[in-house]
Amino acid sequence: MIVRLKTKLLAGFMLLASLLIVAGTISVLEFIKLSSSFSSLLNNNYKSIEASKRMLEALEREDSGILLLLLGEWEKGRSILEEADSSFQSSFETAKNNITEDNEQQLISAIHEQYNAYKARWINPIVYTRKQGDISWYHNSLHKEFLEIKLVINELMSINQNSLYNKTSTLQINAQRAVMPGIIAILGAVVFLVMLNFYIRKQFVEPLKQIKTAVKKHAKGDSMISSGINSKDEFKELEVEINQMLHRIQKPDEKN
């Protein structure tokens, strides 16, 4: 069966192209996966960590507000408490609407419950009541609850931080998986081109040289050309054609 040179070359380039296309597709798909993982990291964990931080900050401010009330600074204390409460509520809403991890729902419910109980204690008047200046009341009930809420918020932050760490490790692996096909495809393409160069030399350049040598020999007196080409392609056909042409040229000479 004659395999055309065009077919051979085309097959070679098709194989190279398929390698590059597959490597490119895999890399692109992996990078898409990677970028979606990045956005999920930001959406899922980072938001909750930031909300937890803001809740802790608001709680600290509320604690300061309560201390001011205990000292009889009604106006200043109330303004700090209202501002901190509003900040806490908005951060809590963010955390509540961003539940992504196991146990996160239970922690949110616990924060909600404990914060309401805590707020119920300071929402009632403190200034000009028996509570004003009562440090043991503050220490035994308010401060205790304040610490308990902080503990739950810290736990919420911790599970999101752990998840963030694990996802970052996975991202690192995914990044490597996205890059590796590209690197291997580049190396593969280099090896492929070296091989292609070898075959082009073997299948195209060498037969041409063989035909050139055979034609030169003919010029020096050989009746037919024999290049020694074994391939079943256009070069073999060319040798046969040249021989037939020489045969046709020689025939009229013989007749003469």
Binding site: V3, K8, A11, G12, L15, L16, S18, L19, V22, A23, I26, L29, E30, I173, Q176, R177, M180, P181, I184, G188, V191, F192, M195, F198, Y199, K202, Q203, N230, S231, K232
Partner: protein, 478 residues
């Protein structure tokens, strides 16, 4: 040297690997695992580079011995190279050197691992890991020979380059028949063990993987605690029997099945091999019992499994021999040096050479006593030529020299003597586990990257029986 002929046969090696990669890929797809991309990409690489030389090369009937040597050595290297690609692409514990180590360990059927958590690997990769054992067990090139229908001369040359002269004894057939026997026995044993392991309680996946590793005398398990994980005496007995059988000459196994007079029951070498293993088991069991490690039953159970596992170069484990008495460790080290029989799937020095060495020593003693006497060496009724005797003795010297050099290089990297010594001998013998930091339930990850690379060379030298590698460097280009 005809590069196009070599490239075409190497292409067939790649296509054969692609077949097993494709099965691994299908497993990965079935279980929806993260190893789909690495396996898919490696399969395509193998297909592309396997098919490419076929587009340009015609049919070739002949192959010179030099070309045969180049095909065999580069075939093994190429298989190890493509074998590591899925690992490298999958990542995690697989750094570049770890992936290379795991791949070479797989193909050379050594079974040493760098993985701490084998069970974390996706099933597709676990299957590929076991498949490297199975492909390498009978020899990367042997399967290629089976599918080279037109090249009779090339087949003979490649078989000569792939198998040692001693391995070819007991194969009293034409080249093609010899290859067919090898493959039939290999596939038959694998199927039989898989079914028996399933009946003993393993699932199909673990059964196939452990059968691949047993028949190839490899040792990769799908579990972190190797065969100890299953804690089943039935499974241990099945694996022990198949390890012992796989360590025997395949020609003799075929003869036993077909009722030929060349069978395992009539072979003196097989008898000696079994007797030495039994003696090893009894010595180890007695020491374990007297040192109050186990009762008699357990001492025999663990001793027989470990001795057969190491004595056949498989490397499975049911106990951590690093904690056993020094005497038992010395016995196990002896079996690491001795290895299994020629003509089997094992690598390393091989029992037949030790047997021939002992006979040669006896012959020399006789020559001292009777200087004018004529003494010829025979193994299983076949006369061993002076040339084969010389070759065998030289091989033993080369083997010891290679082992010594590897130990020396490892000690240069400040690795302790016990680890360096046992890592060198276990990789050269394609056994798997050693002692020190590389014990039967440990792994090779703690070694420096250069040490791992040196050990992979040791594995390849053990698998290719040193001569092929030396011959490669003496091959003329024309």
């Amino acid at each position: 040297m005809r590069t196009e002929v070599i490239l075409k046969i190497l292409g067939v090696v790649l296509l054969f690997n692609a077949f097993f990669l494709l099965i691994s890929l299908l497993i990965s797809l079935y279980y929806k695992e993260s190893s789909v991309t690495p396996l898919l990409f490696t399969t395509l690489i193998c297909l592309i580079f396997g098919l490419f030389p076929m587009v340009f090369s015609g049919k070739h009937q002949t192959l010179s011995f030099s070309e045969g040597i180049v095909v065999v050595v580069s075939g093994w290297l190429l298989a190890c190279f493509v074998g590591m690609l899925p690992y490298v692409m999958w990542g995690t514990e697989f750094t570049l050197i770890n992936a290379w180590f795991e791949s070479v360990s797989g193909f050379t059927t050594t079974g040493s691992t760098v993985l701490h958590d084998v069970e974390a690997l996706p099933k597709g990769l676990l299957f590929w890991r076991s498949a490297t054992h199975w492909i390498g067990g009978v020899g990367v090139i042997i399967f290629v020979l089976l599918i080279l229908p037109h090249a009779k001369n090339a087949r003979i040359t490649l078989l000569n380059a792939e198998m040692s002269e001693l391995s070819k004894s007991n194969f009293h057939f034409k080249t093609r028949t010899t290859i067919q026997i090898l493959v039939i026995v290999y596939v038959g044993l694998t199927l039989a063990e898989t079914v028996l392991l399933k009946l003993a309680g393993m699932d199909w996946f673990d059964g196939v993987n452990h059968a691949f590793a047993t028949i190839a005398t490899g040792g990769f398990s799908t579990k972190n605690n190797s065969v100890a994980y299953f804690n089943s005496s039935h499974i241990e007995v099945i694996i022990m029997v198949f390890m012992l059988i796989s360590g025997m000459h395949f020609g003799l196994l075929f003869g036993t099945i077909t009722g030929s007079r060349f069978n395992i029951f009539r072979s003196k070498v097989v008898r000696a091999y079994v007797v030495v293993i039994l003696a090893g088991i009894l010595l180890v069991a007695a020491k374990l019992y007297t040192n109050n490690f186990y009762g008699w039953i357990d001492a025999l159970r663990y001793a027989s499994f470990q001795v057969i596992s190491v004595g056949t170069t498989t490397g499975f484990a049911t106990a951590d021999t690093a904690f056993w008495p020094v005497f038992t460790q010395m016995i196990i080290i002896y079996f690491t040096i001795q290895c299994a029989m020629t003509g089997s799937t094992s690598g390393g020095l091989k029992f037949d050479r030790v047997y021939l060495f002992m006979k040669s020593v006896k012959k020399q003693v006789n020559l001292i006593r009777h200087p004018h006497g004529v003494f010829s060496l025979k193994m299983d009724g076949f006369r061993i030529s002076e040339q084969l005797e010389r070759q065998t003795m030289l091989f033993i010297v080369l083997y010891v020299f290679t082992f010594f050099m590897t130990t020396l290089l490892l000690s240069l990297l400040d690795i302790d003597l016990k680890t360096a010594f046992s890592a060198s001998i276990t990789t050269l013998g394609n056994v798997g586990p050693g002692f020190g930091n590389v014990s039967s339930l440990g792994n090779f990850d703690s070694l420096p990257a250069i040490a791992k690379f040196i050990l992979t060379i040791s594995m390849l030298l053990g698998r290719l029986e040193i001569y092929s590698i030396i011959a490669l460097f003496t091959v003329s280009r024309h």
